[in-house]
Symmetry: C3
Subunit: 175 residues, 3 copies
């Protein structure tokens, strides 16, 4: 960590820039999912990327297939009904040319059936329903064009073991 | 990105500091809204700032009018009933003396009518109701006193086009 | 802020690294709470740490007692039923060898009784219930082994004064 030679400082700055680039990658995911930005999605995955949402869903492998899920008619139906992916503060660790993040994600949808609530100075709505809360592990690799997603795995925080296994990645020793 | 002369390093550090200052500006918004901190609000907007919450609400223009909304009796009624603005991880891009961010925001209020739920080790509550989820675009300018908010526009993620237009800002090319 | 001598640059870089280390400390809390990682919890608190969740709960004092709360049978019952601590973007200020953060935290649990909602491309669930939303103040100290938590205080955003008192810390003058 220590050291103040220019080379050393440059390495420390680069590590910080890496970290901030990864924050922006994770922050870009909700806007891409909620608009169906499949070109963007294709641009941030590696060619051989793997997206694993659990046994309940198809497991698209490869950049084109992953981008395809957000271009599907079914996904666009969700968008038209209103959907919000909501990302919490992620844990991020960069090690040389690889990095990983452990993050929480909510999916919310407008409530269509509940009563209307009025909040002073904030209008009247039926509110939103939290459809899912998941634990996410992102694995990144540095490429000549910047950081790319190599693997993303998520599991519902519904009490099952899969989510806890992902969360424990936060505490794994550097390898 | 490259380069390790001291001037170059200083420019890279400044860009990082800018980014972190903007994270703190966005993170300061919920505490200011939830306490009605109108002096603080006045201090972080430009004189000619514009705050646009959509056609449903008044569009205060100028620092004094914007700060005034959080000083209103109606807003303080919301605060006394309990209100939480909850900010997700924002996408932030700094370009010289301007910057913008795309962020998600929830507004939650205590549930006054639902059943009481008990969660082991976490007490018994009626819980909270998600009143709104919005897409936000923030435009910032650098001033002699630090970064200031020039414009903030938000739209509900209820399926309408306004929110998606905001979110697509994440993917716009540098100008 | 200004200056580009190597010593000065090093000090600015260190401040940024401090800030990012604190982001990771806050981001590690939900994974530790949701897996009951008591060894990790013990490692990030000072020996004399104080964790104050309000009068409704016991106030464990000292690292061992704080770690003990996440090792309790009651806490593990909550984990098995499904629980998600969800952290928003925190406000963070570092001043020399101390730092503090003001953050929002949600606690969500799977809904076991409501109707099943289907969202296109996102499956069918009963959704999640927001059990609590709290305002948190974290006080940190720098140690030879890195930043440690000295005090954490949280209060529910249910309209009572305690939460607002915490949130106002965002606007306190340096000193």
């Amino acid at each position: 960590m220590a050291g103040s030679g220019a080379d050393n400082l440059e390495a420390r700055i680069r590590l910080i820039e890496d970290r901030l680039e990864i924050y922006n990658l994770i922050a870009s995911h909700p806007p891409s999912a909620d608009t169906g930005a499949s070109d963007y999605t294709a641009s941030v995955w590696t060619e051989d990327g793997v997206f694993d949402r659990g046994d309940e869903f198809a497991k698209p492998a490869g950049r084109a297939a992953i981008a395809g899920t957000s271009a599907s008619a079914e996904h666009h139906r969700a968008i038209e009904q209103g959907i919000a992916h909501f990302a919490g503060l992620p844990y991020v660790r960069v090690t040389g040319d690889t990095a990983f993040a452990i993050s929480y994600l909510q999916i919310l949808v407008p409530d269509r059936v509940g009563p209307v609530f009025e909040v002073p100075n904030h209008g009247a709505t039926r509110g939103f329903h939290v459809h899912r809360v998941s634990a996410n592990r992102w694995d990144f690799v540095r490429t000549a064009e910047g950081w790319r997603i190599k693997r993303r795995r998520l599991r519902s925080l519904d009490g099952s073991e899969g989510a806890r296994e992902i969360l424990r990645g936060t505490f794994e020793a550097d390898g």
